[in-house]
Symmetry: C2
């Protein structure tokens, strides 16, 4: 351990000489803010943090870290849910906080070029001002950064219609573990010259390279959006509602489900939700005003047929924003309701949604925990929360998490729909992938990072 | 050469012993149909062809080929445009023609599971019968197969709104070069457990593995579709029309452009196109009937403002299908107009579309060739054709192709938007990727196929 610390500090000194001492932090108190993320991974303080001001400086950091064989954990917004930004093996945290330039928004090409430290919400505002649209919208959008979004392949509610981050990354400037700079991908929307390397880097959780410039595809902004709420008397009916919307030929941009506890929590956060619902569907439709009006009718009929207690349309942007603000704060609000909480984000085939929700309720009961589940029903992507107050239940929570992962795999699903594996879910990865695919992933890692210095202790 | 042939025939003999002699073809006449594709790559006859009837048999073929170090070229529909299915180094062609089962279409999960030899058009019919939708639609859809679509990451007109094949591949069963069977990806729409390996295999042109089972994402079928034609007095005006549609906030499912020669050719194939147009925009809008009606109005106003000579709406499915049939036959029809033709499929940023079209006209004139360009304007993806009759112009055609590739790269575009590199465009790949990214691609190839037996002579 001491040797690791000494080596990290020697590397930090060399980084200071190369890119300026003011770019290097080794003061223990100042290092605290680089220790944790928003998962239940225990924070770990790095030995040093470096804050490059350019891609070239970031490359210099990687070259020096590589020479010294010192771990480097890239950090963007630090809002991850799987421990991805936690420097579990110490070493250097490479922070993107000074790489915050929106380099270009091109209205005709429908392209944005950003640095990794740009906050997602800022990009949303910048493109929406021009009538454009960047769909990915994880709940942390006011603080998460594009670099982290790319590293984790972030999704969000709008992924149902519009897909996840990987569908928007056209080109990446990547600093490799050895400190080389490469550019992969293309500026036009389509391109098949060579293997799809951007797709391999997206979702690689900082283990294959560092992104210093990100070229993103944009869309024309939808002229009109409407939000629809439908409370249901029970979860199976809500599950039928999801199926009925799709069977009617609609592709809402958002198709969310919440259980009773989540509905109560969102209401307590200030959103106008109906009381007494055992489950709720929240759908958003976008397009031309006439199209949205027509689709609302179709959706209403479908939800009604599935047994919705009532159907409410959120009127106007203020009410919509209040609803979404409360929805985005849901995870935190659930956290405040008990002294302990763990969250997971499994995904299952849509036809297994109701069965999964019911069995999650049983898992919570079996382990004496309070369960609360919400998620992106259209994608079968569920955010599963277990809460408890008695510290004696910590072991039960671990067992409930393991049971949840087994359930996801039994349903032919995945242990992570959008949060990533990081350090938190490593123990479940092999169960999903099997030894052959696990080895294949590891061999890619060795190829791109032979010394294993990029975000060690994560993913594979 | 003789040694290669002997080795291939020994391997073919071993394959016959392993999976049945009736599955192996070595008769030279019968081998002819495995020699070519639909590119201008010279056909090359393999030493043997094998026709496995199951994934296990395909794996056995790969194991034997690997032991004998014999090249294996996978072949699905053989409709590729870049030489991907041509066994340029001889050896064994592995044909998917008996792997033609649609294993599953799940309406609630919106998932289809197919074998690689399923013809795309057959999948379209099967899902559309159930009110579902699989968007990718390369022009060869009546004969191309899903295995080839995945290998080449096929696109087509509808890619503008709906994306290309990679956006629909959820899970792949892959036979590796060594003959191992692995499964990568997941059945739910979302999943981030490990690197995005399906994305790496999609578009790998048969050089990384053989796909024996493909799980595809489906969508609900759009209830209504309308097709809109707008002739323009010149190409720049048509280019402005493309921009105007997007600036109006529309995302048509198709947004195509054609030059005068293509318009004339499509008309001569039986489609009701207006005479005398110097350029044409063909757009398709889908969604609810009311939404499409509203969008048609917006699109009409946008195209009118850009200078369209008139705006026509294709009335009804029969007229639409005749139009599309003629559009799909366009490449072949252009081929019939002269004794020689070469085609390319560059993509450029949308804002460079008009400049690119104008410079393509100059390239044709400079080289005494007849040029004809059409393509997916929304994606900046152009199908560039040069035709000639005098065999003395063959060298000019090569020079025009090289100039076209230089032009694509000068525009910050790509040498292939959807057809792939194969054998035809290998010489241009390094210009696009640069040495670092080229090496990275090669290192992935070495990792997955250390003996270099999978589709040698292609891509990298």
């Amino acid at each position: 351990v001491t040797r690791g610390r000494d080596r990290a500090l020697r590397a930090a000194l060399a980084v200071g000489r190369a890119i300026g001492e003011s770019r290097v932090i080794t003061d223990e108190e100042l290092l605290e803010r680089f220790a944790g993320d928003e998962s239940d991974q225990e924070p770990v303080q790095p030995h040093a943090a470096v804050i490059p001001a350019s891609a070239e400086q970031a490359a210099a950091v990687m070259r020096i870290a590589s020479e010294h064989s010192v771990p480097v954990t890239p950090r963007a917004g630090g809002t991850g849910k799987s421990g991805g930004a936690v420097p579990v093996q110490g070493g250097i945290v490479l922070s993107c906080e000074k790489l915050t330039t929106i380099k270009e928004i091109h209205e005709e090409d429908l392209v944005a070029v950003v640095e990794p430290g740009v906050v997602l919400g800022r990009l949303h505002e910048a493109v929406e001002e021009r009538g454009l649209f960047y769909p990915p919208d994880p709940a942390s959008l006011e603080s998460c950064c594009l670099g982290g979004n790319v590293a984790e392949n972030a999704g969000g509610p709008r992924a149902f219609k519009y897909g996840v981050t990987s569908h928007y990354v056209l080109r990446l400037e990547v600093v490799t573990a050895a400190g080389d700079m490469i550019r992969v991908g293309h500026r036009p929307v389509k391109g098949v010259a060579g293997y799809d390397l951007p797709a391999l880097f997206v979702g690689s959780e900082g283990t294959l390279g560092l992104f210093t410039e990100i070229t993103l595809r944009l869309l024309p902004g939808p002229p009109h959006v409407s939000t629809l709420l439908a409370p249901f008397p029970d979860l199976p009916a809500a599950g039928r509602g999801v199926g009925a919307i799709l069977a009617a030929g609609l592709i809402p941009r958002v198709l969310e489900i919440m259980d009773a506890r989540c509905v109560d929590t969102v209401r307590s956060e200030g959103a106008a939700l109906p009381p007494g619902a055992a489950a709720l569907i929240l759908a958003e439709l976008d397009g031309s005003e006439a199209g949205v009006e027509a689709d609302l009718q179709v959706a209403g009929t479908a939800l009604d047929g599935a047994g919705a207690s009532e159907i409410l349309v959120a009127s106007g942007p203020v009410e919509r924003e209040r609803l979404w603000k409360a929805r985005r704060d849901l995870s935190e609000a659930l956290g405040r309701s008990h002294s302990h909480k763990i969250s997971d984000d499994i995904a299952v085939p849509r036809s297994r949604l109701v069965e999964t929700l019911e069995r999650l309720e049983s898992i919570a009961a079996d382990h004496h925990l309070t369960g609360a589940t919400f998620g992106h029903a259209g994608d079968g992507n569920l955010h599963v929360n277990f809460m408890w107050d008695d510290p004696g239940l910590d072991g039960e929570a671990d067992a409930a998490r393991a049971a949840t992962m087994r359930l996801a795999l039994e349903m032919d699903g995945t242990v992570s729909g959008e949060h990533g594996i990081g350090s938190v879910k490593r123990q479940f990865l092999a169960d999903e992938l099997g030894p052959g695919v696990l080895d294949l992933g590891r061999s890619f890692k060795r190829l791109l990072d032979p010394r294993g210095i990029l975000n060690p202790g994560k993913l594979y």
